[in-house]
């Protein structure tokens, strides 16, 4: 089978891509890591978190939604782009209540891991400390909206993979939140612990009960190796 291949450059390095692939997909296959939060392989990308922002021929685009084009010059790991990403991650930290010190996702959290990767020691924006709510009504799954970054993975996974549409966004701007179908509690829905939606949360907003500390802090995914190491190992 001969698929038409195109070639473009990320930070001056030639990358081959199939026609129709996004910059993110092509980069992943080539072993070039582009930081991301809302993007998850196998889910429909929607470019909401902007962490995967790259410059394509001088214009900012989200790598997870932007198709790779023949001959394009993509900037990924430049000082300017890293600065933009640092600001985005900073904002995600200050606009929620991210108490890493007692969060059971700490060490496995992708938001935290992106911050580690960007060597962020403290956010530069003032903390907002919003009032957010919890939902512990489901026997196996817990929602803590303090930690939600509105990436939409759960909305996507529940709708497209599980076929249940348990989650939906409601509200606008700073009032926006992940709501449970028909304004009910999670315990009133048909969500099951085996659902894809229970597995995709990059932060500790959707948590499986009773398994939180099965792996101790210090021995978790991002404790020793930066996020993206697995992709970079391919190059």
């Amino acid at each position: 089978m001969s698929e038409k291949m195109i070639t473009f450059k990320i930070d001056g390095v030639e990358i081959k891509a199939k026609v129709g692939q996004t910059i993110m997909q092509a980069a992943d296959e080539a072993g070039v890591y582009i930081p991301r939060l809302c993007y998850l392989k196998d889910l429909t990308p929607h470019g909401s978190c902007r962490v995967c922002t790259v410059k394509v021929n001088g214009r900012c685009q989200t790598a997870c939604t932007e198709p790779a084009v023949d001959g394009a010059e993509v900037e990924n790991k430049t000082e300017e782009i890293e600065g933009i990403r640092r600001d985005i991650v900073d904002m995600l930290f200050v606009e929620g209540n991210h108490f890493c010190m007692f969060c059971e996702k700490s060490g496995n959290c992708e938001l935290q891991a992106e911050a580690y990767r960007l060597s962020i020691c403290a956010p530069k924006f003032p903390y907002l400390f919003p009032a957010r709510d919890l939902d512990g009504t489901h026997p196996d799954i817990f929602i803590d909206r303090n930690r939600c970054i509105l990436c939409g993975r759960c909305v996507n996974a529940s709708r497209d993979v599980d076929g249940k549409t348990v989650f939906e966004f409601v509200g606008r701007g700073s009032e926006k939140k992940v709501a449970v179908n028909a304004d009910a509690n999670l315990g009133d829905t048909n969500m099951a612990i085996t659902d894809k939606a229970a597995d995709v949360c990059p932060v500790g907003a959707i948590i499986k009960k009773r398994v939180g500390f099965a792996v101790p802090v210090g021995k978790r995914i991002y404790d020793e190796k930066p996020i993206g190491s697995d992709i970079e190992a391919k190059s």
């Binding site: 209540n97 108490f99 890493c100 010190m101 007692f102 969060c103 700490s106 060490g107 935290q112 911050a115 580690y116 990767r117 060597s119 962020i120 020691c121 403290a122 956010p123 003032p126 903390y127 400390f129 919003p130 009032a131 957010r132 802090v217 404790d223 020793e224 930066p226």
Partner: protein
């Protein structure tokens, strides 16, 4: 030449970060060769005896005394470091930030399920520092120069930072020493 001086303070913290300073183990002997300790809970000096090179601040600002103390440190230290998550973000005490102060005090002194308080009053003695409306990270009160995250920052993180600063080197923490937990 006199040795440079280090001062430390625990504001709205749990002293865990100070325990982590002690956790540098036998390296503390080396540290004592390099520096003198000024105002600090470690030597219980209440007032600065002179200009300090480094001030390590544990904890955020939850009451007026914390603010006073933090400003006192800023005036007397060349380099001020937020040590640990509470100094950086307010930490656990900042959990009260998403609700009004009155609700917290009412819960603590009047309505909590285990409260025994026959007077029915919230303590207001002038000896007790007044609570702030919310808990503030140190850098929202004064300028902080460096941040060492962690709950607590590991002894290695503290050691690396002090050694770099005392040798006039840039503070560049490796991946495994930047932790928020």
């Amino acid at each position: 030449m006199a040795k440079p001086k280090i001062a430390t303070a625990s504001l709205a913290g749990c002293f865990g970060c100070h325990m982590s300073i002690l956790d540098i183990d036998e390296r503390i002997l080396k540290l004592i060769e390099l520096v003198d300790f000024d105002k600090s809970p470690i030597d219980d000096l209440k007032k600065f005896t002179g200009r300090c090179l480094v001030g390590l601040i544990e904890g955020g600002c939850a009451n007026e005394e914390n603010v006073h103390n933090l400003k006192y440190f800023r005036e007397n230290c060349d380099i001020l470091i937020s040590l640990g998550d509470c100094a950086i973000s307010g930490g656990l005490p900042a959990m009260r930030n998403s609700m009004p102060l009155k609700e917290c005090l009412d819960e603590a002194y009047l309505n909590g399920p285990t409260v025994y308080n026959p007077s029915g009053k919230i303590p207001s003695d002038k000896e007790i520092p007044l609570c702030l409306d919310r808990v503030y990270p140190c850098h929202e009160i004064v300028k902080m120069d460096y941040y060492l995250p962690g709950c607590p920052p590991s002894a290695d993180t503290i050691w690396e930072a002090l050694v770099a600063l005392l040798n006039n080197k840039p503070l560049d923490l490796p991946y495994e020493l930047i932790k928020y937990d």
